[in-house]
Subunit: 258 residues, 2 copies
Amino acid sequence: MAPNFEYPKKPQNTVKRYNSRATYDLGAVHSVINTTSVLHVSFAPSPDEPFPAILPMIGVMGSFEYPSSGIDEPLDCYLHGYVSSRLMRLAREAPNGLPVCIAATKVDGFVLSLTPNSHSYNYRSAVLQGYARPVETDEEKVYAMQLITDKVVAGRWENTRVPPDNVEMTSTTILRVKIETGSGKVRQGGPHDEPKDENRAEITDKVWTGVVPVYETLHAPIPSATNKVKQIPAYLDQYVSEVNKSNRETALNAVNEP
Amino acid sequence: MAPNFEYPKKPQNTVKRYNSRATYDLGAVHSVINTTSVLHVSFAPSPDEPFPAILPMIGVMGSFEYPSSGIDEPLDCYLHGYVSSRLMRLAREAPNGLPVCIAATKVDGFVLSLTPNSHSYNYRSAVLQGYARPVETDEEKVYAMQLITDKVVAGRWENTRVPPDNVEMTSTTILRVKIETGSGKVRQGGPHDEPKDENRAEITDKVWTGVVPVYETLHAPIPSATNKVKQIPAYLDQYVSEVNKSNRETALNAVNEP
């Protein structure tokens, strides 16, 4: 088996707190990005402004140069969303692209222990840092548009009116982020209490401990007022079922220690 | 009725794109923060580092000075999480506190239209900007710890071993963010297609359009190996039911235009 690719540990991405939960594995980090509906993208708006900005965006990992790359291989992050003209200008003007930080977090459960301080979440999180630039060529733009559309619902692209026309191509902005560093964190398992509480019956007889698994549910698709297709298409029906099954299993599996 | 409080529109928080979806209403913005399990908190780590940092944290709105304040009144944001020593040092050393940006986004549905470019999410998002400082007094720390614990499961604090002992108080770090600006965005409704596609039967006969509602589900609580409380307590059982009902209704209500 080939060795797993890992992100290099640099000062800014090395996890210090609870570092046994850290992962630098490309596959693990990229999977969290690809299964999270909304990414949070941070950047510095200007030298005069004290606050960083955060935009919620849709994003997906991909490689236009090597489209057959697996999820555990080096990939770029393509971002789409309500890209402000400010963000676009910054990404276009910066000589090496705009430095951004991209974060995604999935909560898999509430971990309830004897005392509030030991409460926790089961979760998977990913953070990427890299340089964002607007995608320039139509070929790469269409490649990224398909990835992004199929992230929302697998197989959706080929089941819509494509390709985009000229107006749509011009009005769509996609950012490509060249990743410099990345890391992830994963917490699984039940509550961890301390002997000072676990050995006192007046506490353990009173306080329920355990996990409330949490997962995202997709409801059955609801047709629009103008929809003309009578049956819900198989690819859509199947996607809803598969995501629901996978999300529920992931949250339930996280209840037990790995 | 008293007028709604709104966040002042400054250059950095004024929504320009799709501004009809914007809200500056304190109640609307704070509600998104308070119902989102994980907030993403961005800050500038140091002048030498090009990339902003993002940490996933638990956060809740509150006012230690005026604890009876409503959700639609001026509030601080209390943050708890794996606060890095770097973040703590920056928050302690900055003369006015550390400038941070806090973001929360709830996805309520996938909006599927005739062509990829018109695809969208139903969602509610909130962004706050303010100055973070560590909470110094034990009284305010306990106030914030209770808010944060009860955010995970309503009523959890009083049903655990409290108050925290001295070791727990010392080892817990809470940040209080004084909010300078805030804004939110809300998208509801079905797909919006253009006449160029809607009037072509070869497209509308083939492409299903509508909404896949999305919501977070809490599974029935699963006891830990060491749990001694035989029945799931009523406050917990009720919380799970209420959150599930509310989340589902919110996503289904979002399918229709407001």
